[in-house]
Subunit: 224 residues, 2 copies
DNA sequence: GGAGAGCCGTACCGTACGTTACGGTTCTCT
DNA sequence: AGAGAACCGTAACGTACGGTACGGCTCTCC
């Protein structure tokens, strides 16, 4: 969506729409900030004022309001994609640490003001069945974490630490144990306080529960 | 919100705002229908046309747009509150049945078009920090089911079938195991098919997992 | 240093929609 | 039957906001 390009100008140091220029990134950050502060009433005029740019520029860069919103969601997504768990030792305690890390990270994300604002926006748009913001958010939230966690689960299984048939089902169980009612409550405006200590505690609890359900009692075939 | 009552007329066969007249209920049903069909673009004119009433009447009865929406949410809530699990025998299989029933019921609710539309609406409003639709939906969804399920859990504990310290925590685990990623995916527009057979299967699986985590190995103290 | 492009600030336009007003019709009560 | 209230259908009003146009400033490049 970035760069509608009426004029054939070499204005794009970044060909990829997913990589806005520094100035464009500043605009998108302004959008994110406004979304968190003002909630739903996000107007083009407000964005222009906050970002100290003209509406004309907004429309030239992002096409229309929906383009701006889409770019903002992708911009935030590109940021979150950063953390990546590399292959670790295949033992019980490192698996447990990985799972705890995933759960804690997920809880941090969904309880952040940015995520709440973004999800609310995407849900509002999904209701109007305009644009595909919902899919984008899903892709970079729920499905992205699935894609990152599933290999960990399968490694755990390969190492004899976990036991399951359906990786997807196992992941969804973990997702449920970690998230529980947190996201829906926050989206609906419940002021659930979730500090770092609570997150760590809950992540550990969810991990323990998951391991109880899917952990193999005999990690190594020592029984034979 | 129902009945703004400029004129001192005995127009209310129902004094309680939670109990609209038949005609008012028809209007609220029209709102629900429109919400599901048209998504977010719910206009007062559209409601009036659909309900075959005048906008003037809408404003007289519900005050303003927000009042109409609030009344609609409460109207739907009053409907869902119907099902109620009465005390059952305190044995393992009836407990299991109760839990399965709760999980299946909850999955049915959150995957219904009505619930999705209502939650989207409430989330949109929560974003605008106007009104308290979010709280109302939470009260009649997440918290209502909690209030109904917790006694069951505590009975199960009293009967020696379950083991936990914190009822709230146990409930939240059950909630997470049952719901997993279903609600957020549906709210974001993912077209997750959830038929009766899947619901029953998933409810049973969630119940089994919950019992694995919280069930007591020795239901009756037969070991002594 | 002059031409041109990019951009800021602001005024402007059109539309959608919440809200109000009003004439005409039906129902109720006496 | 007649008065009055409730209500329907529709027109009208005001505003908020998405989108566009334009004047002026600055920076770059020749």
């Amino acid at each position: 969506m970035i760069s509608a390009a009426k004029t054939p100008v070499p204005e794009a140091p970044s060909a990829d729409p997913a990589e806005p220029t520094a100035r464009q990134a500043a605009v998108l950050d302004a959008v994110l900030a406004l979304m968190q502060e003002q909630g739903g009433q996000l107007t083009m005029t407000g964005v222009a004022r906050r970002a100290s740019c003209s509406k004309e520029t907004l429309y030239k860069w992002f096409g229309d309001r929906d383009g701006l919103l889409t770019a903002t969601v992708q911009w935030q997504a590109s940021r979150v994609r950063a953390g990546r768990y590399d292959r670790q030792r295949r033992d019980a305690s490192s698996l447990r640490d990985s799972l705890r890390g995933f759960a804690a990270n997920w809880l941090s994300v969904i309880s952040s003001a940015t995520s709440i604002a973004l999800n609310r926006l995407a849900i509002t748009h999904a209701a109007s069945q305009q644009s595909n913001l919902g899919q984008i958010v899903l892709e970079n939230g729920r499905f992205a974490i699935g894609d990152r966690l599933k290999p960990v689960l399968e490694e755990g299984r390969a190492a004899g630490l976990l036991q399951f048939d359906d990786t997807e089902a196992a992941f969804r169980t973990f997702f449920g144990l970690a998230g529980r009612d947190v996201q829906i409550r926050l989206l609906l405006g419940d002021d659930l306080k979730l500090g770092k200590s609570e997150i760590d505690r809950d992540a550990a609890a969810a991990t323990d529960q998951f391991l109880t359900l899917y952990g193999r009692k005999t990690p190594t075939p020592a029984a034979a």
